[in-house]
């Protein structure tokens, strides 16, 4: 019996998983959201950016937590 006849279930999930929703890419998007939220929170230029900073960071954190479970 050759090793190639066995297929790892995780690999099957990974191949069926849409390429745009792969973990690496989605984590990068989440990281950018978090970084943008932190910059908006700490910038001294516009109060409106500060107001929406928390929502942006929270969205990034929630997204990061979810997408870190996605297959590579």
């Amino acid at each position: 019996m050759s090793g190639s006849s066995h297929t790892n279930p995780a690999d099957v999930v990974a191949t069926r998983w849409p390429r745009v929703l792969r973990r690496g890419r989605m984590e990068t998007v989440a990281t950018i959201l978090i970084a943008a939220g932190v910059l908006m929170l700490l910038q001294p230029f516009a109060l409106v950016l500060y107001t929406y900073s928390f929502v942006t960071t929270l969205a990034g954190v929630v997204m990061f937590t979810i997408v870190s479970k996605f297959p590579d």
């Binding site: 989440a30 990281t31 978090i34 939220g37 932190v38 910038q43 001294p44 500060y50 900073s53 960071t57």
Partner: protein, 320 residues
């Protein structure tokens, strides 16, 4: 070998003193159940001291609860506390003070820390002693450092003023580092830099020591100048480690409280009033517990987000 004998002896003795009833019960449990039995107390403790207060804080952040009026009616205010914090120019000002402190302290610490690491990596005579001496400030408690530097910054008797006076020629009592508006933020940056540059140096040193010698040897063969080697080999290969130090110090400085509270307490005026100091004032001076809980959650989410990026960077460094 001796340890193993000692351990088996200990297990034998424990088996002898265990009552037959308990032994029978434990023997009937699966390995998974025994593992759960061991970790349950720790998990319960963590739930009690970490998770429960967090959930309780989230709950309080949606109310008008005041800890100094425990018998007053507690009303649900929805997102009003969050709205109030995120539209308050004073809180925004505290955030910009925090940002300035984080930016300057990290910039200076990274430059000095990397330079020190680069020098220590040259392995000159007595470099071990110098490394130990440089690391000393990092090992002190922030409370000790705060008190220590309060004395150093005293305009009449402080050593700092006398050193600056000797270097610049200005009278030692002509300036007060902790009481003058333009100088107070820099006083805190100097103390933080003094204390935490060694940490940045250690991480950078780990990065520099991870660069294989054969890369430099290949560069020598290609007749690359030391300047070219630094920009093309040393800096790019140490960059993930520098990023790690920057992120870690960023998170720590963002929630800095103890040292600032000891040195200036947020003053003069609100020049050094960082987010953590504002939070403490709202929670324990104005007793707006619901409002300060919402503020704490905002800071927590920010730090949690930065920690996620930190872990991602750490994994990238590990995979190298």
């Amino acid at each position: 070998m001796t340890d193993q004998t000692g351990l088996s002896g200990l297990v034998d003795r424990a088996a002898l003193v265990t009552s037959p009833v308990v032994a029978r019960r434990v023997r009937g449990l699966s390995e998974r159940a025994i593992a759960w039995l061991f970790i349950t107390p720790t998990m319960l403790l963590l739930l009690a001291i970490n998770i429960f207060p967090l959930i309780w804080t989230i709950r309080l952040s949606f109310t008008n609860y005041r800890a100094n009026r425990p018998n007053a009616t507690v009303l649900d205010v929805g997102l009003a506390n969050y709205q109030s914090i995120l539209t308050d120019p004073d809180v925004w000002a505290a955030m910009t003070v925090t940002a300035r402190f984080v930016f300057w302290s990290i910039l200076i610490q990274t430059v000095i820390g990397f330079t020190l690491a680069w020098l220590i990596d040259k392995k000159f005579r007595g470099h071990g002693l110098w490394t130990t001496l440089i690391l000393l400030p990092m090992m002190l408690s922030p409370a000790v450092v705060g008190n220590f530097w309060t004395f150093l910054y005293q305009p009449q008797i402080g050593l700092f003023n006398y050193v600056v006076a000797a270097l610049t020629g200005a009278p030692a009592s002509s300036f007060q580092m902790l009481a003058q508006v333009p100088l107070a933020p820099w006083a805190i940056v100097i103390v933080d830099t003094w204390m935490w540059t060694p940490y940045v140096m250690l991480i950078c040193l780990a990065g520099l020591r991870s660069i294989p010698d054969y890369i430099y040897e290949a560069a020598e063969v290609d007749r690359a100048s030391p300047w070219r080697q630094f920009w093309s080999i040393t800096l790019p290969m140490a960059l993930p480690f520098i990023m790690l130090a920057v992120l870690f110090r960023g998170i720590e400085n963002f929630k800095m409280f103890d040292m600032v509270n000891l040195l200036t307490g947020g003053g003069p005026g609100s020049t050094t009033e960082m987010a953590s100091i504002t939070l403490k004032r709202e929670a324990f001076e104005k007793w707006r517990t619901g409002y300060s809980s919402a503020f704490a959650i905002i800071l927590f989410v920010t730090v949690f987000g930065l920690a996620n990026i930190y872990v991602k960077a750490l994994n990238r460094v590990k995979s190298r």
